[in-house]
Protein backbone atom coordinates (compact mmCIF):
# COMPACT_ATOMS: atom_id res chain seq x y z
CA UNK A 1 0.00 0.00 0.00
CA UNK A 2 1.15 3.49 -0.77
CA UNK A 3 1.76 5.59 2.32
CA UNK A 4 2.82 9.12 3.03
CA UNK A 5 5.38 9.60 5.75
CA UNK A 6 7.88 12.07 7.10
CA UNK A 7 10.89 9.79 7.03
CA UNK A 8 14.09 10.40 8.94
CA UNK A 9 17.42 10.95 7.21
CA UNK A 10 19.84 8.30 8.46
CA UNK A 11 22.64 9.01 6.11
CA UNK A 12 23.40 11.13 3.08
CA UNK A 13 26.66 11.16 1.17
CA UNK A 14 28.01 12.11 -2.21
CA UNK A 15 29.30 8.83 -3.68
CA UNK A 16 30.31 10.16 -7.08
CA UNK A 17 30.24 13.53 -8.75
CA UNK A 18 26.77 14.96 -8.02
CA UNK A 19 25.56 11.45 -7.17
CA UNK A 20 24.10 11.11 -3.68
CA UNK A 21 23.23 8.08 -1.62
CA UNK A 22 20.45 8.79 0.83
CA UNK A 23 19.14 6.43 3.48
CA UNK A 24 15.77 7.07 5.10
CA UNK A 25 14.00 5.35 7.95
CA UNK A 26 10.31 4.87 8.63
CA UNK A 27 7.28 2.61 8.69
CA UNK A 28 6.78 2.99 4.97
CA UNK A 29 9.69 0.62 4.38
CA UNK A 30 7.53 -2.30 5.46
CA UNK A 31 5.35 -1.68 2.40
CA UNK A 32 8.25 -2.06 -0.01
CA UNK A 33 8.01 -5.37 -1.76
CA UNK A 34 9.59 -5.42 -5.18
CA UNK A 35 12.91 -4.17 -6.46
CA UNK A 36 12.27 -1.50 -9.09
CA UNK A 37 9.54 0.34 -7.23
CA UNK A 38 10.06 4.00 -6.57
CA UNK A 39 9.18 6.67 -4.05
CA UNK A 40 7.73 10.10 -4.75
CA UNK A 41 9.48 12.78 -2.77
CA UNK A 42 8.60 16.29 -1.75
CA UNK A 43 12.05 17.82 -1.81
CA UNK A 44 11.22 21.24 -0.43
CA UNK A 45 8.66 22.90 1.79
CA UNK A 46 5.99 24.91 0.10
CA UNK A 47 5.77 25.35 -3.63
CA UNK A 48 9.36 25.34 -4.63
CA UNK A 49 9.47 22.95 -6.23
CA UNK A 50 5.78 22.26 -6.41
CA UNK A 51 5.76 18.66 -7.61
CA UNK A 52 7.19 15.54 -6.03
CA UNK A 53 10.20 13.82 -7.56
CA UNK A 54 10.21 10.12 -8.48
CA UNK A 55 13.33 8.28 -7.27
CA UNK A 56 13.90 4.54 -7.41
CA UNK A 57 14.41 2.44 -4.34
CA UNK A 58 17.97 1.20 -4.51
CA UNK A 59 18.10 -1.09 -1.51
CA UNK A 60 15.80 -2.06 1.31
CA UNK A 61 16.62 -3.00 4.87
CA UNK A 62 13.28 -4.10 6.34
CA UNK A 63 14.87 -5.08 9.64
CA UNK A 64 16.04 -1.55 10.29
CA UNK A 65 13.02 -0.04 8.52
CA UNK A 66 15.47 1.73 6.26
CA UNK A 67 15.84 2.06 2.53
CA UNK A 68 18.42 3.71 0.35
CA UNK A 69 18.17 5.63 -2.87
CA UNK A 70 20.81 6.98 -5.17
CA UNK A 71 20.19 10.04 -7.23
CA UNK A 72 21.87 12.71 -9.26
CA UNK A 73 21.51 16.26 -7.97
CA UNK A 74 20.91 18.23 -11.11
CA UNK A 75 17.76 20.31 -10.98
CA UNK A 76 16.07 22.28 -8.27
CA UNK A 77 14.40 19.35 -6.55
CA UNK A 78 17.27 16.91 -6.38
CA UNK A 79 19.57 19.77 -5.38
CA UNK A 80 17.35 20.49 -2.39
CA UNK A 81 17.19 16.80 -1.55
CA UNK A 82 20.96 16.65 -1.46
CA UNK A 83 20.95 19.34 1.24
CA UNK A 84 18.89 17.30 3.70
CA UNK A 85 20.93 16.68 6.77
CA UNK A 86 21.00 13.69 9.08
CA UNK A 87 18.08 13.63 11.54
CA UNK A 88 15.99 15.95 9.36
CA UNK A 89 12.86 14.57 7.80
CA UNK A 90 11.82 14.02 4.20
CA UNK A 91 8.22 13.79 2.97
CA UNK A 92 7.95 10.50 1.11
CA UNK A 93 5.02 8.97 -0.72
CA UNK A 94 5.52 5.34 -1.61
CA UNK A 95 6.24 2.73 -2.54
CA UNK A 96 4.92 3.39 -6.01
CA UNK A 97 4.49 1.24 -9.06
CA UNK A 98 5.36 -2.26 -10.07
CA UNK A 99 8.96 -3.33 -10.04
CA UNK A 100 11.02 -6.07 -11.64
CA UNK A 101 9.31 -9.49 -11.58
CA UNK A 102 11.71 -11.73 -9.71
CA UNK A 103 9.79 -14.90 -10.51
CA UNK A 104 10.51 -14.55 -14.20
CA UNK A 105 14.02 -15.87 -13.56
CA UNK A 106 14.52 -19.34 -12.20
CA UNK A 107 17.59 -20.46 -10.31
CA UNK A 108 19.53 -23.03 -12.26
CA UNK A 109 17.79 -22.69 -15.57
CA UNK A 110 18.17 -18.96 -16.26
CA UNK A 111 21.20 -16.82 -16.99
CA UNK A 112 20.39 -13.30 -15.87
CA UNK A 113 21.77 -10.00 -17.08
CA UNK A 114 21.16 -6.64 -15.42
CA UNK A 115 21.78 -3.59 -17.55
CA UNK A 116 21.89 -0.12 -16.06
CA UNK A 117 22.59 3.32 -17.47
CA UNK A 118 23.52 6.26 -15.25
CA UNK A 119 20.88 6.95 -12.65
CA UNK A 120 19.09 3.85 -13.93
CA UNK A 121 21.67 1.75 -12.13
CA UNK A 122 20.34 2.12 -8.54
CA UNK A 123 17.21 -0.10 -8.65
CA UNK A 124 19.29 -2.94 -10.09
CA UNK A 125 21.14 -3.20 -6.82
CA UNK A 126 18.18 -4.39 -4.76
CA UNK A 127 17.19 -6.55 -7.71
CA UNK A 128 20.57 -8.25 -7.84
CA UNK A 129 20.51 -8.86 -4.10
CA UNK A 130 17.10 -10.47 -4.33
CA UNK A 131 18.17 -12.64 -7.25
CA UNK A 132 21.15 -13.72 -5.22
CA UNK A 133 18.84 -14.68 -2.37
CA UNK A 134 16.97 -16.81 -4.89
CA UNK A 135 20.23 -18.42 -5.88
CA UNK A 136 20.76 -16.52 -9.08
CA UNK A 137 24.03 -14.72 -9.68
CA UNK A 138 23.43 -12.02 -12.22
CA UNK A 139 25.91 -10.39 -14.52
CA UNK A 140 25.91 -6.59 -14.46
CA UNK A 141 26.64 -4.22 -17.27
CA UNK A 142 26.62 -0.63 -16.03
CA UNK A 143 27.06 2.36 -18.26
CA UNK A 144 28.08 5.87 -17.18
CA UNK A 145 29.05 9.10 -18.87
CA UNK A 146 32.52 9.27 -17.44
CA UNK A 147 34.76 8.01 -14.67
CA UNK A 148 33.67 10.60 -12.13
CA UNK A 149 30.06 9.42 -12.35
CA UNK A 150 30.72 5.75 -11.71
CA UNK A 151 29.26 4.41 -8.47
CA UNK A 152 28.56 1.11 -6.73
CA UNK A 153 31.10 -0.88 -8.77
CA UNK A 154 32.27 -2.72 -5.65
CA UNK A 155 28.76 -3.38 -4.43
CA UNK A 156 27.74 -4.95 -7.71
CA UNK A 157 31.00 -6.84 -8.07
CA UNK A 158 30.30 -8.53 -4.76
CA UNK A 159 27.04 -9.82 -6.17
CA UNK A 160 28.27 -10.97 -9.56
CA UNK A 161 30.40 -10.26 -12.58
CA UNK A 162 30.31 -6.53 -13.27
CA UNK A 163 31.34 -4.65 -16.41
CA UNK A 164 31.62 -0.89 -16.39
CA UNK A 165 31.45 1.06 -19.59
CA UNK A 166 31.80 4.82 -20.00
CA UNK A 167 30.74 6.93 -22.94
CA UNK A 168 34.07 8.75 -22.99
CA UNK A 169 36.18 5.71 -22.13
CA UNK A 170 37.58 7.34 -19.02
CA UNK A 171 36.83 4.21 -17.00
CA UNK A 172 36.11 0.58 -17.88
CA UNK A 173 35.59 0.02 -21.54
CA UNK A 174 34.55 2.75 -23.92
CA UNK A 175 31.16 2.83 -25.58
CA UNK A 176 27.63 1.85 -24.72
CA UNK A 177 26.22 -0.96 -22.64
CA UNK A 178 25.10 -2.74 -25.83
CA UNK A 179 28.72 -2.87 -27.05
CA UNK A 180 29.70 -4.68 -23.88
CA UNK A 181 26.80 -7.08 -23.97
CA UNK A 182 27.58 -8.09 -27.54
CA UNK A 183 31.08 -9.11 -26.46
CA UNK A 184 29.96 -11.10 -23.46
CA UNK A 185 30.41 -14.83 -23.99
CA UNK A 186 27.27 -15.85 -22.14
CA UNK A 187 23.85 -16.38 -23.54
CA UNK A 188 21.38 -14.62 -21.29
CA UNK A 189 17.83 -15.81 -20.95
CA UNK A 190 16.48 -13.00 -18.78
CA UNK A 191 17.48 -9.36 -18.95
CA UNK A 192 16.40 -6.59 -16.59
CA UNK A 193 17.25 -3.03 -17.56
CA UNK A 194 16.90 0.52 -16.33
CA UNK A 195 18.35 3.60 -17.90
CA UNK A 196 17.81 6.33 -20.47
CA UNK A 197 15.20 5.67 -23.13
CA UNK A 198 17.68 5.37 -26.04
CA UNK A 199 19.45 2.61 -24.11
CA UNK A 200 16.18 0.80 -23.48
CA UNK A 201 15.24 1.10 -27.14
CA UNK A 202 18.56 -0.34 -28.26
CA UNK A 203 18.11 -3.24 -25.87
CA UNK A 204 14.63 -3.90 -27.11
CA UNK A 205 15.80 -3.99 -30.70
CA UNK A 206 18.63 -6.39 -29.99
CA UNK A 207 17.16 -8.52 -27.22
CA UNK A 208 13.43 -8.03 -27.55
CA UNK A 209 13.02 -11.68 -28.43
CA UNK A 210 14.28 -12.69 -24.99
CA UNK A 211 12.67 -12.17 -21.62
CA UNK A 212 13.49 -8.51 -21.29
CA UNK A 213 12.13 -6.18 -18.59
CA UNK A 214 12.56 -2.47 -18.96
CA UNK A 215 12.08 0.23 -16.35
CA UNK A 216 10.83 3.43 -18.02
CA UNK A 217 11.11 7.07 -17.08
CA UNK A 218 8.50 9.70 -17.71
CA UNK A 219 7.69 13.14 -16.35
CA UNK A 220 5.04 12.68 -13.69
CA UNK A 221 2.27 14.68 -12.11
CA UNK A 222 0.66 12.57 -9.42
CA UNK A 223 2.76 9.41 -9.49
CA UNK A 224 -0.26 7.34 -8.47
CA UNK A 225 -2.12 6.91 -11.73
CA UNK A 226 -4.66 9.70 -11.48
CA UNK A 227 -3.47 12.43 -13.82
CA UNK A 228 -2.60 10.66 -17.07
CA UNK A 229 0.71 12.52 -17.32
CA UNK A 230 2.92 9.49 -17.74
CA UNK A 231 1.10 7.27 -20.17
CA UNK A 232 2.54 5.31 -23.05
CA UNK A 233 0.86 3.48 -25.88
CA UNK A 234 0.56 -0.27 -25.66
CA UNK A 235 2.55 -2.13 -28.27
CA UNK A 236 -0.51 -3.90 -29.67
CA UNK A 237 -2.30 -0.60 -30.31
CA UNK A 238 0.52 1.86 -30.96
CA UNK A 239 -1.62 4.72 -32.25
CA UNK A 240 -4.90 3.90 -30.58
CA UNK A 241 -6.39 4.83 -27.26
CA UNK A 242 -5.15 1.96 -25.13
CA UNK A 243 -2.36 2.88 -22.77
CA UNK A 244 -0.33 2.05 -19.73
CA UNK A 245 0.72 4.43 -17.00
CA UNK A 246 4.40 4.42 -16.19
CA UNK A 247 3.75 5.40 -12.58
CA UNK A 248 1.18 2.77 -11.61
CA UNK A 249 1.28 0.09 -14.31
CA UNK A 250 5.06 0.41 -14.55
CA UNK A 251 7.67 1.70 -14.27
CA UNK A 252 8.79 -1.83 -15.25
CA UNK A 253 7.28 -3.32 -18.38
CA UNK A 254 7.97 -6.50 -20.25
CA UNK A 255 9.56 -5.76 -23.58
CA UNK A 256 6.88 -5.66 -26.23
CA UNK A 257 4.21 -4.54 -23.82
CA UNK A 258 4.41 -0.80 -24.45
CA UNK A 259 5.84 1.54 -27.05
CA UNK A 260 8.99 3.13 -25.78
Amino acid sequence: MIKQEEMKVINQKEIAQSIYELTLEGELVSEMSQPGQFVHIKTGNGFEPLLRRPISISSINPGKKQFTMIYRAEGKGTELLSQKEIEKSVDVLGPMGNGFPLNEAAAGSDTVLLVGGGIGVPPLYELSKRLKEKGITATHVLGFQAKEHVFYEDEFTKLGETYIVTADGSYGSQGFVTDVIRDLPKDFTVIYACGPTPMLRALEIEYGHKKLFLSLEERMGCGIGACFACVCHTADDPTGSSYKKVCSDGPVFRSGEVVI
Binding site: M1, I2, Q4, K42, F47, E48, P49, L50, L51, R52, L93, E218, R219, M220, G221, C222, G223, I224, G225, A226, C227, F228, A229, C230, V231, C232, H233, G240, S241, S242, Y243, S248
Partner: protein, 313 residues
Amino acid sequence: MKSLEIRLPGLELKNPIMPASGCFGFGREFSQFYDLSELGAIMIKATTPVPRFGNPTPRVAETSAGMLNAIGLQNPGLDKVIGEELPWLDSYDVPIIANIAGSQIDDYTEVARKISNAPNVKALELNISCPNVKEGGIAFGTDADVAKSVTRAVKEVSQVPVYVKLSPNVTNIVEIARAVEDGGADGLTMINTLLGMRLDLKTGKPILANGSGGLSGPAIKPVAIRMIHEVSQHVSIPIIGMGGITTVEDVIEFFYAGASAVAVGTANFVDPFICPKIIEELPAMLEKLGYDHISECTGRSWGKHEQIAYHRA
Protein backbone atom coordinates in the same frame (compact mmCIF):
# COMPACT_ATOMS: atom_id res chain seq x y z
CA MET B 1 -20.08 19.52 10.52
CA LYS B 2 -23.38 21.32 9.92
CA SER B 3 -21.47 24.48 9.25
CA LEU B 4 -20.12 23.03 6.01
CA GLU B 5 -23.27 21.85 4.26
CA ILE B 6 -23.98 23.61 1.02
CA ARG B 7 -26.89 23.26 -1.35
CA LEU B 8 -26.32 24.19 -4.97
CA PRO B 9 -28.33 23.38 -8.08
CA GLY B 10 -28.46 19.58 -8.23
CA LEU B 11 -25.98 19.22 -5.40
CA GLU B 12 -26.46 18.56 -1.73
CA LEU B 13 -22.93 18.83 -0.46
CA LYS B 14 -21.79 17.58 2.94
CA ASN B 15 -19.06 20.09 2.56
CA PRO B 16 -17.95 22.45 -0.19
CA ILE B 17 -14.65 20.71 -0.99
CA MET B 18 -14.21 18.57 -4.07
CA PRO B 19 -11.35 17.44 -6.27
CA ALA B 20 -11.15 19.28 -9.60
CA SER B 21 -11.59 17.51 -12.88
CA GLY B 22 -8.51 15.88 -14.33
CA CYS B 23 -6.67 15.91 -11.03
CA PHE B 24 -8.42 12.92 -9.53
CA GLY B 25 -9.04 10.53 -12.41
CA PHE B 26 -12.24 8.68 -11.55
CA GLY B 27 -11.30 8.42 -7.91
CA ARG B 28 -9.89 4.90 -7.88
CA GLU B 29 -6.34 5.91 -7.01
CA PHE B 30 -7.41 8.19 -4.19
CA SER B 31 -9.73 5.57 -2.72
CA GLN B 32 -6.62 3.82 -1.43
CA PHE B 33 -5.85 6.87 0.68
CA TYR B 34 -9.24 7.74 2.17
CA ASP B 35 -12.95 7.11 1.97
CA LEU B 36 -14.25 9.07 -1.02
CA SER B 37 -17.55 9.57 0.80
CA GLU B 38 -15.78 12.20 2.89
CA LEU B 39 -15.68 14.52 -0.12
CA GLY B 40 -18.28 17.15 -0.87
CA ALA B 41 -18.42 15.92 -4.46
CA ILE B 42 -16.08 14.57 -7.12
CA MET B 43 -15.45 16.22 -10.46
CA ILE B 44 -14.41 13.36 -12.67
CA LYS B 45 -11.98 13.50 -15.58
CA ALA B 46 -13.36 15.00 -18.80
CA THR B 47 -15.33 12.45 -20.77
CA THR B 48 -15.63 12.47 -24.56
CA PRO B 49 -17.89 10.32 -26.77
CA VAL B 50 -15.07 7.97 -27.77
CA PRO B 51 -11.90 7.04 -25.92
CA ARG B 52 -8.98 9.42 -26.38
CA PHE B 53 -5.31 8.85 -25.90
CA GLY B 54 -4.48 12.50 -25.60
CA ASN B 55 -1.20 14.22 -26.39
CA PRO B 56 2.27 12.75 -26.65
CA THR B 57 4.51 12.91 -23.59
CA PRO B 58 6.02 14.80 -21.81
CA ARG B 59 2.68 16.09 -20.68
CA VAL B 60 3.70 17.98 -17.57
CA ALA B 61 6.32 20.58 -16.79
CA GLU B 62 6.98 22.43 -13.61
CA THR B 63 6.96 26.21 -13.22
CA SER B 64 7.40 28.54 -10.27
CA ALA B 65 4.61 27.66 -7.85
CA GLY B 66 2.76 26.00 -10.68
CA MET B 67 2.74 23.33 -13.30
CA LEU B 68 1.84 23.05 -16.95
CA ASN B 69 -0.13 20.13 -18.27
CA ALA B 70 -1.08 19.07 -21.75
CA ILE B 71 -2.85 15.80 -21.12
CA GLY B 72 -5.17 16.40 -24.02
CA LEU B 73 -8.37 15.05 -22.52
CA GLN B 74 -7.21 11.48 -22.35
CA ASN B 75 -10.14 9.39 -21.14
CA PRO B 76 -11.61 5.95 -21.62
CA GLY B 77 -14.67 7.26 -23.48
CA LEU B 78 -18.32 7.64 -22.61
CA ASP B 79 -19.27 3.96 -22.63
CA LYS B 80 -16.57 2.89 -20.28
CA VAL B 81 -17.18 5.83 -17.95
CA ILE B 82 -20.87 4.98 -17.79
CA GLY B 83 -20.32 1.25 -17.74
CA GLU B 84 -17.43 0.99 -15.30
CA GLU B 85 -16.29 4.16 -13.62
CA LEU B 86 -19.61 5.62 -12.52
CA PRO B 87 -21.00 2.33 -11.17
CA TRP B 88 -17.78 1.85 -9.21
CA LEU B 89 -18.09 5.38 -7.82
CA ASP B 90 -21.69 4.65 -6.89
CA SER B 91 -20.47 2.54 -4.00
CA TYR B 92 -19.52 5.81 -2.33
CA ASP B 93 -21.93 8.31 -0.87
CA VAL B 94 -20.73 11.23 -2.92
CA PRO B 95 -22.32 13.23 -5.73
CA ILE B 96 -20.47 13.16 -9.03
CA ILE B 97 -20.03 16.15 -11.28
CA ALA B 98 -19.31 14.84 -14.74
CA ASN B 99 -16.90 16.95 -16.75
CA ILE B 100 -17.84 16.70 -20.40
CA ALA B 101 -15.81 17.67 -23.42
CA GLY B 102 -15.68 17.27 -27.15
CA SER B 103 -14.58 18.65 -30.48
CA GLN B 104 -18.01 19.81 -31.61
CA ILE B 105 -21.37 20.62 -30.08
CA ASP B 106 -22.71 17.17 -30.92
CA ASP B 107 -19.99 15.61 -28.81
CA TYR B 108 -21.07 17.64 -25.82
CA THR B 109 -24.73 16.85 -26.25
CA GLU B 110 -24.10 13.16 -26.78
CA VAL B 111 -22.07 12.86 -23.60
CA ALA B 112 -24.46 15.09 -21.68
CA ARG B 113 -27.54 13.18 -22.69
CA LYS B 114 -26.17 9.81 -21.70
CA ILE B 115 -24.01 10.61 -18.71
CA SER B 116 -26.67 12.73 -17.03
CA ASN B 117 -28.78 9.60 -16.68
CA ALA B 118 -26.27 7.93 -14.41
CA PRO B 119 -27.81 7.84 -10.94
CA ASN B 120 -24.84 9.36 -9.15
CA VAL B 121 -24.19 12.11 -11.67
CA LYS B 122 -25.83 15.07 -9.99
CA ALA B 123 -24.51 17.79 -12.25
CA LEU B 124 -22.51 18.29 -15.40
CA GLU B 125 -19.47 20.45 -15.79
CA LEU B 126 -19.24 21.70 -19.31
CA ASN B 127 -15.57 21.93 -20.17
CA ILE B 128 -15.39 24.67 -22.78
CA SER B 129 -12.01 25.74 -21.56
CA CYS B 130 -9.51 22.95 -22.12
CA PRO B 131 -6.42 24.59 -23.59
CA ASN B 132 -4.84 21.33 -24.69
CA VAL B 133 -6.85 20.05 -27.59
CA LYS B 134 -6.72 21.24 -31.18
CA GLU B 135 -10.43 21.30 -31.72
CA GLY B 136 -13.15 22.30 -29.36
CA GLY B 137 -12.21 22.91 -25.77
CA ILE B 138 -11.06 26.45 -25.27
CA ALA B 139 -12.44 27.57 -28.63
CA PHE B 140 -15.92 27.17 -27.18
CA GLY B 141 -15.03 29.11 -24.09
CA THR B 142 -13.46 32.23 -25.54
CA ASP B 143 -16.38 33.42 -27.65
CA ALA B 144 -19.50 34.49 -25.81
CA ASP B 145 -21.93 33.45 -28.52
CA VAL B 146 -20.42 30.03 -29.00
CA ALA B 147 -20.28 29.51 -25.25
CA LYS B 148 -23.95 30.37 -25.02
CA SER B 149 -24.96 28.03 -27.84
CA VAL B 150 -23.15 25.04 -26.46
CA THR B 151 -24.56 25.73 -23.01
CA ARG B 152 -28.06 25.92 -24.41
CA ALA B 153 -27.61 22.74 -26.43
CA VAL B 154 -26.36 20.83 -23.42
CA LYS B 155 -29.06 22.22 -21.15
CA GLU B 156 -31.68 20.91 -23.55
CA VAL B 157 -30.52 17.33 -23.24
CA SER B 158 -29.21 17.17 -19.71
CA GLN B 159 -31.20 15.53 -16.93
CA VAL B 160 -29.20 17.37 -14.30
CA PRO B 161 -28.08 20.94 -13.70
CA VAL B 162 -25.27 22.20 -15.89
CA TYR B 163 -22.24 24.09 -14.64
CA VAL B 164 -20.06 25.73 -17.23
CA LYS B 165 -16.31 25.79 -16.71
CA LEU B 166 -14.83 29.09 -17.78
CA SER B 167 -11.48 29.74 -19.32
CA PRO B 168 -9.38 32.53 -17.83
CA ASN B 169 -7.73 33.14 -21.20
CA VAL B 170 -10.18 35.83 -22.21
CA THR B 171 -10.33 39.59 -22.33
CA ASN B 172 -13.71 39.83 -20.67
CA ILE B 173 -14.72 36.93 -18.52
CA VAL B 174 -17.85 38.66 -17.29
CA GLU B 175 -19.16 38.74 -20.82
CA ILE B 176 -18.69 34.99 -21.23
CA ALA B 177 -20.17 34.30 -17.81
CA ARG B 178 -23.26 36.31 -18.62
CA ALA B 179 -23.60 34.61 -21.97
CA VAL B 180 -23.60 31.14 -20.47
CA GLU B 181 -25.99 32.28 -17.76
CA ASP B 182 -28.23 33.47 -20.58
CA GLY B 183 -27.74 30.11 -22.21
CA GLY B 184 -29.28 28.52 -19.15
CA ALA B 185 -26.26 27.50 -17.09
CA ASP B 186 -27.16 26.58 -13.52
CA GLY B 187 -23.74 27.46 -12.21
CA LEU B 188 -20.19 28.29 -13.14
CA THR B 189 -16.93 26.61 -12.33
CA MET B 190 -13.79 28.67 -12.64
CA ILE B 191 -11.05 28.86 -13.45
CA ASN B 192 -9.57 26.39 -15.84
CA THR B 193 -5.87 26.70 -16.56
CA LEU B 194 -4.04 29.68 -18.04
CA LEU B 195 -2.20 29.03 -21.27
CA GLY B 196 1.52 28.74 -20.65
CA MET B 197 4.75 27.32 -21.98
CA ARG B 198 8.21 26.31 -20.83
CA LEU B 199 11.26 25.86 -23.01
CA ASP B 200 14.15 23.53 -22.48
CA LEU B 201 17.43 25.32 -21.79
CA LYS B 202 19.44 22.90 -23.89
CA THR B 203 17.26 22.39 -26.93
CA GLY B 204 15.27 25.61 -26.96
CA LYS B 205 12.18 23.56 -27.62
CA PRO B 206 9.04 23.33 -25.48
CA ILE B 207 9.29 20.84 -22.62
CA LEU B 208 5.75 19.71 -23.31
CA ALA B 209 5.44 17.62 -26.44
CA ASN B 210 2.29 19.60 -27.19
CA GLY B 211 4.15 22.91 -27.07
CA SER B 212 1.94 24.89 -24.77
CA GLY B 213 -0.09 23.66 -21.82
CA GLY B 214 -2.38 24.73 -19.05
CA LEU B 215 -0.91 26.49 -16.06
CA SER B 216 -2.35 25.47 -12.69
CA GLY B 217 -1.34 25.64 -9.06
CA PRO B 218 -0.69 28.45 -6.55
CA ALA B 219 0.79 30.70 -9.25
CA ILE B 220 -2.65 31.30 -10.77
CA LYS B 221 -4.57 31.84 -7.54
CA PRO B 222 -4.60 35.66 -7.73
CA VAL B 223 -5.98 35.45 -11.27
CA ALA B 224 -8.73 33.07 -10.13
CA ILE B 225 -9.64 35.27 -7.17
CA ARG B 226 -9.84 38.35 -9.35
CA MET B 227 -12.08 36.66 -11.91
CA ILE B 228 -14.41 35.07 -9.36
CA HIS B 229 -14.66 38.38 -7.53
CA GLU B 230 -15.70 40.08 -10.74
CA VAL B 231 -17.95 37.43 -12.24
CA SER B 232 -19.79 36.65 -9.00
CA GLN B 233 -21.00 40.23 -8.84
CA HIS B 234 -22.39 40.08 -12.34
CA VAL B 235 -24.26 36.78 -12.42
CA SER B 236 -26.86 35.27 -10.16
CA ILE B 237 -25.82 31.65 -10.52
CA PRO B 238 -23.38 30.14 -8.03
CA ILE B 239 -19.70 29.59 -8.67
CA ILE B 240 -17.54 26.63 -7.78
CA GLY B 241 -14.11 28.20 -7.47
CA MET B 242 -10.73 26.68 -8.20
CA GLY B 243 -7.20 27.61 -9.17
CA GLY B 244 -4.27 27.11 -6.86
CA ILE B 245 -6.04 26.05 -3.70
CA THR B 246 -3.67 24.30 -1.30
CA THR B 247 -4.83 25.35 2.17
CA VAL B 248 -7.93 26.03 4.20
CA GLU B 249 -7.06 29.72 4.09
CA ASP B 250 -7.19 29.57 0.31
CA VAL B 251 -10.67 28.05 0.53
CA ILE B 252 -11.86 30.98 2.63
CA GLU B 253 -10.31 33.43 0.18
CA PHE B 254 -12.24 31.82 -2.70
CA PHE B 255 -15.47 32.10 -0.73
CA TYR B 256 -14.74 35.73 0.06
CA ALA B 257 -14.21 36.31 -3.65
CA GLY B 258 -17.66 34.94 -4.36
CA ALA B 259 -17.43 31.16 -4.61
CA SER B 260 -20.09 28.91 -3.06
CA ALA B 261 -17.95 25.78 -3.15
CA VAL B 262 -14.41 25.04 -4.26
CA ALA B 263 -12.40 22.44 -6.09
CA VAL B 264 -8.84 21.41 -5.44
CA GLY B 265 -6.76 20.40 -8.44
CA THR B 266 -3.00 20.30 -8.60
CA ALA B 267 -2.61 20.09 -4.84
CA ASN B 268 -3.89 16.49 -4.96
CA PHE B 269 -0.68 15.52 -6.73
CA VAL B 270 1.49 16.93 -4.01
CA ASP B 271 -0.53 15.73 -1.06
CA PRO B 272 -3.05 13.00 -1.84
CA PHE B 273 -4.74 13.68 1.50
CA ILE B 274 -5.27 17.37 0.82
CA CYS B 275 -9.06 17.28 0.37
CA PRO B 276 -9.90 15.46 3.60
CA LYS B 277 -7.28 17.55 5.40
CA ILE B 278 -8.95 20.77 4.32
CA ILE B 279 -12.39 19.40 5.16
CA GLU B 280 -11.17 18.56 8.63
CA GLU B 281 -9.61 21.95 9.16
CA LEU B 282 -12.50 24.04 7.87
CA PRO B 283 -14.78 24.07 10.94
CA ALA B 284 -11.99 25.29 13.23
CA MET B 285 -11.02 27.97 10.74
CA LEU B 286 -14.62 29.17 10.49
CA GLU B 287 -14.83 29.29 14.25
CA LYS B 288 -11.59 31.22 14.48
CA LEU B 289 -12.86 33.76 11.96
CA GLY B 290 -16.22 34.00 13.67
CA TYR B 291 -18.54 32.46 11.08
CA ASP B 292 -21.29 30.00 11.89
CA HIS B 293 -21.57 28.69 8.39
CA ILE B 294 -19.18 28.59 5.47
CA SER B 295 -21.74 30.29 3.25
CA GLU B 296 -21.33 33.47 5.29
CA CYS B 297 -17.94 33.84 3.68
CA THR B 298 -19.27 33.98 0.15
CA GLY B 299 -18.82 37.39 -1.39
CA ARG B 300 -17.33 39.20 1.61
CA SER B 301 -15.07 41.00 -0.82
CA TRP B 302 -18.00 42.46 -2.69
CA GLY B 303 -19.11 46.03 -2.41
CA LYS B 304 -22.45 45.13 -0.88
CA HIS B 305 -22.95 42.23 1.44
CA GLU B 306 -26.68 41.84 0.82
CA GLN B 307 -25.82 40.11 -2.43
CA ILE B 308 -24.62 37.07 -0.52
CA ALA B 309 -28.13 35.82 0.18
CA TYR B 310 -28.83 33.90 -2.98
CA HIS B 311 -25.73 31.83 -2.63
CA ARG B 312 -26.74 30.39 0.68
CA ALA B 313 -27.74 26.76 1.12
